[in-house]
């Protein structure tokens, strides 16, 4: 069954999530989109008055500092009235894929990695990681606590 996804480049890797979970795109370091900090957590104020919790997934990618890529935009993800602002490179794009063709992660990957990535779409040599929107809301906490699988 074909489904619309949003494709985002984060830390040089391709990620996708259901189009319905995307609330919008913002520009990183824009004067109108300054991050606020409260009790150690960073928030991005949204135009409608809501706040999105800031999350940089690149921080928790194996490979560390040397493989960091410049991230220019925010991907605002929503689930049940909550928002997360993910840093990404470029504006991302929409695409369609057969959701039944996704592969599971190998059993070697467990814990929060498995909770966050619900499957992998294979497109020739490209692997696209499917993000789980409900788990994404917990990702900022996992990043802050340095969780690993």
């Amino acid at each position: 069954m074909m489904k619309n996804y949003f494709l985002a480049l984060i830390g040089g890797q391709l990620f996708a999530l259901g189009k319905d979970s995307v609330a919008g795109i913002g520009t990183h370091n824009d004067s109108r989109a300054k991050l606020l900090e409260d009790k150690g957590k960073k928030f991005l104020p949204l135009p409608d008055g809501n706040q999105a919790i800031f999350c940089d997934l690149q921080q928790v990618m194996p490979g560390g500092e040397s493989r960091r890529s410049k991230q220019s935009h925010y991907l605002i993800v929503t689930h049940e009235g909550q928002y997360v602002a993910l840093l990404m490179t470029g504006k991302g794009r929409l695409f369609m894929a057969d959701e039944t063709q996704q592969c599971p992660l190998p059993p070697a990957l467990t814990g929060v990695a498995r909770k966050l990535i619900s499957g992998v779409l294979v497109n020739c040599n490209d692997l696209i990681l499917l993000l789980n929107a409900p788990s994404l809301l917990k990702a900022p906490e996992w990043v802050a606590s340095g969780q690993r699988c």
Partner: protein, 174 residues
């Protein structure tokens, strides 16, 4: 030489290991039966929140294989080296996917070219002397054996727990 006089040989693959606490050259030994293929460099899809020794996944004939960095696995208390790699060695681990029942393979990162060596069975049986393994290897949770032959050391690793995701952090504290 007649066939009766020819000694049976076993082909092995030796992958250099960089251990913080070992003197001399240490290699991880894989038998010919374990090694499926040696691949050149290719993109690895990194997975957020994965441990440093799991560099990501690669697509291998429509099967996603975990990419394991043995240097990071065996030096888990030190910061990841994060160097590039020259080859990926696809190996059979002997473990089976508990969900699908498929045999689990893994791709092992090699910073240098993997060495191939043939040993007569008698050499394998007699000239490898068991030694006390370096602490980092013992703490890795995957060590099966550690041997010396002349100036070189050879480690045998069991990757069952790694590919099944059951290794956990307990091994590093052992």
């Amino acid at each position: 030489m007649t066939s009766e006089g020819r000694q049976a040989e076993t082909r092995t693959y030796l992958l250099p290991l960089a251990l913080d606490d070992a003197e001399g050259n240490v290699f991880c030994l894989f038998s010919q039966n374990q090694v499926v293929e040696i691949l050149g460099p290719r993109p690895i899809q990194r997975i957020p929140f994965s441990p440093s020794y799991l560099r990501g996944v690669v697509n291998y004939f429509n099967q996603l294989l975990p990419v394991i960095n043995l240097d990071d696995l065996c030096n888990r208390k030190t910061v990841s080296r994060n160097e590039g790699f020259r080859q990926l060695m696809v190996v059979r681990t002997g473990a089976v996917d508990p969900v699908t029942g498929r045999p689990l393979k893994a791709a092992i990162i090699s910073r240098t070219r993997v060495h191939m060596a043939k040993f007569a069975d008698q050499v394998l049986a007699t000239s490898f002397v068991e030694q006390e393994a370096p602490t980092s290897l013992k703490a890795s949770g995957v060590l099966r054996g550690f041997f010396q032959r002349q100036a070189h050391y050879v480690a045998l690793l069991d990757l069952h727990q790694v590919v099944l995701g059951t290794l956990g952090d307990a091994a590093s504290t052992n």
